[in-house]
């Protein structure tokens, strides 16, 4: 199998190839969002962009941090931080499945030689007030992509809907390179010397140290305090926006410009912070039964609050734009 390994893409080539493929399909290439989050879906590039009527095609990588999934860099398949390649097609073209298959061909999967199945797997995130219908795409028994038709997000019914493709890059790359541990993935190969740099060299220390922090060091009391601070600020921003809308409706004391410049995007960052801190506390075993349900509901309230306000802000902006 070493022959296959030499020909297969390095981790970074896999990334280039996927990005190039989707850019050719008209996707905007975005950079990873620089706030910690558990999945690419939580990036504003998905969570906020799928709301409202405006078409949007985007492809981005998203390092996805799940404190509870860390295994100190010891488990060959589990990571605290893994990399998702996320594609949003809003609205989805009729041949979205065929395009997806082409993307597999592009990264070197000869579909004629493999076994491919779309198996039902519907996605739901109560914390984000979001759900969709779709499949896990199985390639020779390995789940390589989550394919979802988003139906609702932030408690808002979507119109149009979006297709979301999420490739788990470590898993996919390990498959392509035929290695049994993600740490054996070749990340880069020096074109001159042929020297290979592995995933282990680049990431294992990070996995170890973050696992240690997440499971052993993270100060529970301070983390709770952080969570509360972010939550308070996020909530104040949402309330502020809703206050403006009300004022505009009643006394016209607020102008459309005020609504348009209102910082909802930063409010969403704060919501993401809360979500990550919740995951951290969870990994730390610091959330009791009674608290758990309540905290999830609080974060959901933030996510839904931002989503609703954002939809309103977008429609207002759109209305103003058509007038001018």
């Amino acid at each position: 199998m070493s022959q296959a390994k030499d020909k297969s893409l390095t981790f970074q080539e896999l990334i280039f190839t996927l990005q190039k493929f989707w850019a050719k399909q008209g996707c905007v290439l975005q950079q990873p969002y620089d706030v910690e989050m558990g999945a690419g879906t939580m990036s504003p590039e998905t969570f906020l962009r799928v709301l409202g009527p405006k078409p949007y095609h985007v492809c981005y990588l998203q390092p996805s941090r799940r404190p509870a999934d860390g295994r100190f860099g010891e488990n060959p398949n589990r990571l605290f931080k893994h990399t998702q390649c996320q594609v949003i097609l809003k609205p989805p073209p009729d041949n979205v499945q065929e395009l997806y298959l082409e993307s597999l061909q592009a990264i070197g999967v000869d579909l004629r030689k493999h076994d491919l199945k779309f198996e039902e797997d519907n996605w739901e995130s109560p914390t984000l007030g979001a759900w969709g219908i779709g499949w896990q795409v199985m390639l020779d028994g390995l789940e390589v992509t989550q394919f979802t038709y988003f139906q609702q997000c932030g408690g808002v019914d979507l119109e149009p809907i979006s297709a979301e493709l999420t490739y788990g890059l470590e898993r996919l790359c390990a498959f392509l390179q035929d290695v049994d541990s993600v740490f054996d993935i070749v990340w880069a190969r020096d074109p001159k010397s042929g020297r290979e740099i592995t995933y282990r060299e680049i990431r294992q220390t990070e996995e170890l140290q973050f696992s240690v922090y997440n499971f052993e060091f993270a100060d529970v009391e301070k983390t709770w305090e952080h969570l509360k601070l972010y939550e308070t600020e996020c909530k104040a921003l949402i309330d502020g926006y809703n206050g403006l809308v009300k004022a505009l409706g009643e006394k016209k004391s607020a102008s459309r410009e005020e609504l348009k410049r209102y910082p909802l995007l930063p409010a969403f960052d704060l919501c993401l912070k809360c979500s990550h801190l919740f995951n951290l506390l969870d990994a730390r075993g610091a959330i009791s039964v009674t608290e758990r349900v309540g905290v999830i509901a609080r974060i959901r309230a933030l996510a839904v609050g931002v989503a609703k306000a954002y939809v309103d802000q977008q429609s207002d902006t759109a209305a103003a734009a058509t007038k001018s």
């Binding site: 199998m1 488990n75 060959p76 398949n77 589990r78 609205p91 989805p92 009729d94 499945q97 298959l101 579909l111 004629r112 030689k113 493999h114 076994d115 491919l116 199945k117 779309f118 198996e119 039902e120 519907n122 219908i133 499949w135 390639l139 020779d140 028994g141 390995l142 038709y149 139906q151 119109e159 149009p160 809907i161 498959f175 035929d178 049994d180 075993g285 959330i287 009791s288 039964v289 758990r292 349900v293």
Partner: protein, 708 residues
Amino acid sequence: MPDFLLEIGLEEIPARMVDAAREELARRTQELLVKENLLSGEAQVSSYSTPRRIAVVAFGLNATQADAQEQITGPSLKVAYKDGAPTPAAEAFAKKVGMDVTKLGKISNSKGEYLSATVEKKGRAAADVLAESLPKEITGIYWAKNMYWRAGKPERFVRPVRWLTALLDSKVVPLEFGGIKAGAKSRGHRILSQGDITLQSPSAYAGSLESAKVVVSPAEREHSIRKALDAATRTIPGARWREDEDLLKTVVNLTEFPSVIIGTFEKEYLSLPEEVLVTVMRDHQKYFAVEDANGKLAPHFLAVLNTDGDPDGLIRHGNERVLRARFNDARFFWQTDQKIPLTERVEMLKAVTFQKDLGSYYEKAKRMAHLVNIGGADFDAPGRKINRKALHEAAWLAKTDLTTELVKEFTELQGVVGGLYAKAQCLAPAVADAIYDHYRPLSMEDESPRTLESALLALADKSDSIAGMFALGLQPTGSKDPFALRRQANGIVKIIVEHKLPVDLRMLFHVALIGYKGSDAEKKFTNLDKYADSISAFFRERLEFYLRDVRGFAYDEVNAVLAAGYDRVTDALDRVEAVAEVRKSADFEPISVAFKRIKNILRQANEAGKSPMGEFNAAGLPDPAEKQLAEIVEMKAPIVAELRHKHQYVAALAEIAQLRPALDTFFEKVMVMVEDEKLRSNRLALLQKMLNNFSTIADFSEIVTEKK
């Protein structure tokens, strides 16, 4: 007589929904064709499905509906003619039916005479009817979960529809659904076939698709999968694949052109429990397990592919790689989990929610330990002794596996993992077995827990859940049963019967509720006043289901027995068995008729405010017929009570049957509802006594007798 084909092409339908949708499409199409006089009622339609299509073919349609004559009724003659000349009303009717007014006929009905016209109704072409009506049928197909995909959300369906093929012989039927216009083109296998394929005729459907690498008949795919599984297994001497009906159905509906590979895993993984290995293979990878000649798990697996083969072994290699990673994970979890023994995990249950209003699993474990103790007191019997210490320990440990990595990964193995860990951690076998089995039975087909301790633990677990949910007012309604309480109650019934446990349901649920005393949950109990009654009604339904549908007793026998009480399930079963046996005897039906009569008389008397006065007085009965009945009642009552007490129900029912001659004579000779109040009341009291004393095994009035 043209043939008709409809194929709906979709993105992959969930495997679990394919069969029902195919059958529904066939049924709807056939019913439509018959209703529209396009097909005779006996004609069968063929139906097909793969993950990407559901299709129906009907042979020998009428190309057009037969013309029909229709009689239309017009205005009454009084209105239609004035002085022998047609009025404007008659003219208007003539115009409406397109006839000359002089050609109109007459009909008379109960209301009088009317103008009438017989008009020819032109039969419509089959293609027109289908194009108009079939889209509504497609829209009506039931899917467990639907989605929108088009702008403006015009329709919901299981997945986006991507093509429609509709042919009447070689001509396209111009129907439209989901923004797709039907054509003559279909699509072959995603990978193995290129481009669209054009279908020549409905009868060529299966053949054309086969050449595009799609086997449209699920039965055929199942057959070929079975053969391929056999063939692949034969490469391993002495090996057999493990039959798994559900898995087979799933893979049939995940493939369009199936083939099978056999893969191998390292023997070292066989040191993991078989339960874990099989769950990984079956539930997570959809692989069939392979066993050796002795029925032991062999280090092989069978994967069903959606392609025509694996000449380079690439697919096998990939699947082996995935399975190895999965097994590695399982082994890692297993080893990690051993670092904290179950006994140290009890405390961790405080952080695991049982139900949001009912608190944590720690509290549940505490209640279960209490509940098995109370239960334990009754169940020692000669020849069986409960290991109380083991039972108590198992109750505390039963849920601890919910904190393990292995159960977090393989939730379907809850209980099983706990049992395996208990064994590995050298806890008493009785403890391990009780934990292992305590979620059982998962269905009526599933086995009950094997040991007495596991049966009691299962009972405690299920009754605690039901008690808590009913107290919260969250009992199942209609199709809503999110906590599967019906399944748990069915389990309770099955366990009680199969272990012959002398459990009193009323007492069990009384004690189960006491377990919640003083908890936070108790403050949320809003349904306490209706608690006992609603649980009782709930179990009556479960027992009806069990005795009728599972055990096959006649519904009136079940009703008769349950009407006489069912708190003790085993007793209810014994009684219904006795009733079913005695029912064949000659006296049984007449006795039932007599009891119905008694009940009616008492009911009518009660409604008229003429209730019996307490105990009847034998001396106050003048007629020899009633004296005789009273005597035999007095004589039989203690005998029946004694036999009932000894659970000798057949004998008791035989005694009751002997009342028949006296009863017959009584009803022949004696009038109950006489004017004399004292006498009437005394006679009613006699009947009441009969009813009270002889309805304790079954309420005979519930038995359906032939009407004479």
